[in-house]
């Protein structure tokens, strides 16, 4: 096998898998599941093999769309540290999720559709990771949105799932609206859509000198719009929590580890563009920070185990976006990398809990699961520790320190926000652990819970390993990712560690103190807590806005179309013609002789005009 063909195989294998399920094994869920899982395992192997491919290796590209005028959109591959590392994440978590799903979706009717969707997602995500140009990235960008639609709407006969799928797709489309304009602006200004060519033109040739800052800012922020949609940043964050209507393994793969991180990945790809415009980075950083803060606050008062994790994902994505905004794309990618493992772990863990509790998702109906599900409990705690950034022993610690360090150097206000979020994270995650795993069982379902089957806990254990070690130097050496792949290079400063450790302990302690032994939400009556619990009423506001601006506008447009436009353009002339015809009809008596008279009169007139005039 030519190693240059490796990326093509990684890209197309899942597509063929999805296509063959769609075409041939649609009726048989089990065969489909095995095909898809097999493919994902092969992909993992290939993903590891990809690490050996050198930087900038030439991979044959497919000229997908040759528009003429020297604009060619290729399906091409940019192989560098960034894409190799990201590919490892995608294939590794993809494989874990496939295996987990084998058990989780065992008795589902739409198993074939589910696995086809997963495979198709793997294909799309691979495309994003490998993309060497904007349009190709956009193509796969849309396709991940589509596969996410299919998977969120997997249980489409539930109203909530159907609505969530639609919401996710549409919200992403709004982001893509900006993204497309951004791509066009970049193309219009730099005359290229290829990342390397743009980088050369922008950084080396300074082609953008002299372009007004307003236009440059519009360009950067429009591209960033894509990330807002895909990575669920404010104000387009609303789809991600709702996306939890999908099966839990899907949430782990798509809505925690990979797809939502694509926005950050894209920003890291084009990080060189951000400093071109004064102020754009600032905007990006603040959007990220506010998203992180608000999401963390919302997470405090959620009662659905998956939603807590969803808001935590939002919060972490906000971190990464903030890091990109302050020109620390390395730190962002590092956090993306580590976060992918432990968040996937947490989601799969929550999936195991939900599975054990017979699809109960309310944390107040669980409790005391630590004894019944020890493996799940231990791995979940490891994931939680990584998420909180427990110093020195978890991967999350290093990556979060990298971001905090960058913020401390770059922007003090952002640092304060970020540090506060450390506290909040520790609080809500501890609350989750305490309520779900400790104490007494609070429902029949929780009482009957038992450890999940082996197919489910093995992925948990496997994911727990990188959750711990993915921050260390040796991990990168082993994976041949160093030195260019962003990773930990020692803590920024002792002070930073102390600050975050104090905040961490404070958060954990508060949560223990507040939730130990409680059987229902102790802060239920608190007005502020209610605001958090209701997600700052953003969804309600959006529903209202959509009602006014979209449906209202549509209604008005429809009315105008029926009455004004149709009236002016069609009915008014039609009425005029009818009136005129009515007048003319009086001449049509039906009497032959009057016609004859008129005819003869006409003849006489013609003679007069021709002969005598």
């Amino acid at each position: 096998m030519e190693s240059q063909n490796l990326p093509w195989i990684i890209l197309l294998l899942p597509l063929f898998c999805a296509a063959s399920i769609l075409l041939f094994t649609r009726r048989s869920g089990n065969i489909s599941a095995l095909i898809a899982t097999g493919c994902s395992l092969i992909s993992l192997l290939l993903g590891v093999a990809l690490l050996r491919l050198p930087d900038g290796v030439h991979v044959a590209a497919f000229p997908w769309l040759n528009m003429g005028s020297n604009v060619v959109v290729e399906i091409g591959f940019q192989i560098d540290q960034l894409s190799r590392g990201m590919m490892l994440v995608v294939t590794a978590i993809g494989a874990a999720v496939h295996v987990f799903s084998l058990a989780y979706m065992k008795d589902d009717d739409g198993k074939a559709r589910y696995f086809a969707g997963l495979s198709f997602f793997m294909f799309s995500m691979t495309g994003i990771v490998f993309a060497n140009n904007f349009v190709m990235m956009f193509v796969f960008w849309e396709l991940v949105g589509f596969s996410s639609y299919v998977l969120i709407g997997h249980w489409f006969e539930k109203d909530s799932a159907a609505d969530a799928a639609k919401k996710a797709f549409l919200t992403n489309r709004i982001g893509d609206f900006g993204f497309m304009i951004g791509i066009l602006l970049v193309w219009g200004l730099t005359k290229s859509i290829y990342f390397t060519a743009i980088a050369t033109a922008v950084v080396d040739e300074q082609i953008l000198n002299g372009v007004s800052n307003g236009l440059l800012m519009a360009m950067v922020l429009c591209v960033f719009c894509g990330a807002i949609g895909k990575s669920a940043q404010l104000p387009l964050h609303v789809w991600l929590p709702d996306a939890m209507e999908g099966p839990t393994p899907v949430s782990a793969l798509i809505h925690a580890a990979t797809m939502v991180a694509a926005g950050v990945y894209m920003l890291a790809r084009i990080a060189f563009l951000i400093p071109m415009s004064a102020g754009a980075g600032e905007v990006i950083a603040w959007i990220g920070a506010i998203t992180a803060l608000m999401a963390a606050l919302m997470a405090l008062q959620q009662n659905d185990i998956k939603r807590i994790l969803a808001y935590s994902t939002l919060s972490q994505l906000g971190y990464m976006v903030m890091a990109v905004g302050i020109n620390a794309a390395d730190a962002a990618m590092f956090h993306l990398f580590t976060h992918a493992f432990f968040k996937a772990l947490l989601f799969l863990g929550s999936g195991a809990v939900i599975y054990a509790c017979h699809h109960e998702q309310d944390i107040w109906k669980m409790g005391g699961l630590a004894k019944k599900m020890p493996i799940t409990f231990v791995t979940f705690v490891i994931g939680t520790a990584a998420l909180m950034g427990l110093p020195f022993v978890t991967s999350g610690f290093f990556s979060k320190e990298a971001i905090l360090g960058a913020a401390l150097h770059g922007h003090k206000a952002l640092f304060v926000v970020a540090a506060f979020i450390v506290l909040l994270t520790a609080f809500y995650m501890t609350r989750l652990i305490v309520v779900v795993f400790l104490g007494e069982d609070r429902s029949e379902k929780a009482k009957k819970a038992k450890e999940v089957p082996v197919l489910m806990w093995v992925p948990l254990v496997l994911l727990a390993v990188p959750s711990v070690i993915a921050g260390y130097e040796f991990f990168y050496k082993g994976m041949a990712l160093s030195p260019a792949f962003p990773h930990h290079e020692g803590p920024a400063s002792i002070g930073l560690i102390v600050i975050s450790a104090v905040l961490l302990i404070f958060g954990i302690g508060m949560a223990f103190w507040g939730y130990k032994g409680e059987t229902s939400e102790p802060m239920a009556g608190n007005r502020l807590a209610r605001v958090f619990g209701n997600k700052f009423y953003v969804d309600e506001a959006y529903t209202w806005l959509i009602k006014i601006f979209q449906d209202g506008l549509a209604g008005v447009a429809n009315f105008v179309d029926k009455v004004v436009v149709d009236g002016l353009v069609a009915r008014l002339p039609a009425a005029g013609a009818l009136r005129l015809g009515d007048a003319m009809r009086r001449l049509q008596s039906g009497n032959l002789q009057s016609y004859g008279f008129l005819f003869a009169l006409g003849a006489v007139l013609v003679i007069y005009l021709v002969v005598f005039k």
């Binding site: 002789q593 008279f597 006489v604």
Partner: protein, 167 residues
């Protein structure tokens, strides 16, 4: 002499024509029309168009008018009843006829070539029957065939139209 004959036959045809339109009874109208056709035929003969004149009498005065009379009698039509005699159409028709005649007079007054007198035909020239026959069966051969087809179609059409079951 010939001029006198012209005036006699011209008067005959005009009076016959007027008779067609003033008579209430269609049978009388038909007979007036025959008179007008005979006058016309005589005028044709005066123009040395013997064949045409004879055909005029045979076809129009004979066949066509017999057909008309047949139909009139077949329908057993009474004379036009005097119900709601409309002056409008009568006045309009007469007015238009008069206007037409006035225009005719003015046109003819300006038509200088019209004041020619008739020249005698050259002596020894072929008769009109021969000449017309030659033309019809050489130069106008194809139109003659077409007219033949037309007559056939008309015949069939009449048969179809006259069928009782027509509805």
């Amino acid at each position: 002499m010939l001029d006198l004959l012209f005036y006699i036959f011209a008067t005959l045809s005009v009076v016959g024509a007027l008779g067609v339109i003033v008579n209430k009874n269609p049978v009388t109208s038909a007979f007036s029309l025959i008179a007008a056709f005979i006058g016309l035929a005589a005028l044709f003969i005066q123009l040395d168009a013997y064949l045409v004149g004879i055909i005029q009498i045979l076809v129009y005065g004979g066949a066509v008018m017999v057909l008309f009379l047949f139909i009139i009698m077949l329908m057993d039509l009474p004379s036009e009843e005097r119900r709601k005699f409309g002056w409008g159409p009568v006045a309009g028709g007469i007015l238009l006829g008069c206007v037409f005649v006035v225009q005719l007079v003015r046109v003819l007054a300006d038509y200088s070539a019209g004041s020619r007198v008739m020249q005698d035909l050259p002596v020894g020239a072929a008769s009109d029957v021969e000449q017309i026959g030659k033309l019809m069966f050489t130069q106008y051969y194809f139109p003659v065939q077409v007219v033949g087809v037309l007559l056939l179609v008309a015949t069939i059409g009449v048969v179809v139209l006259s069928k009782k079951e027509l509805d």
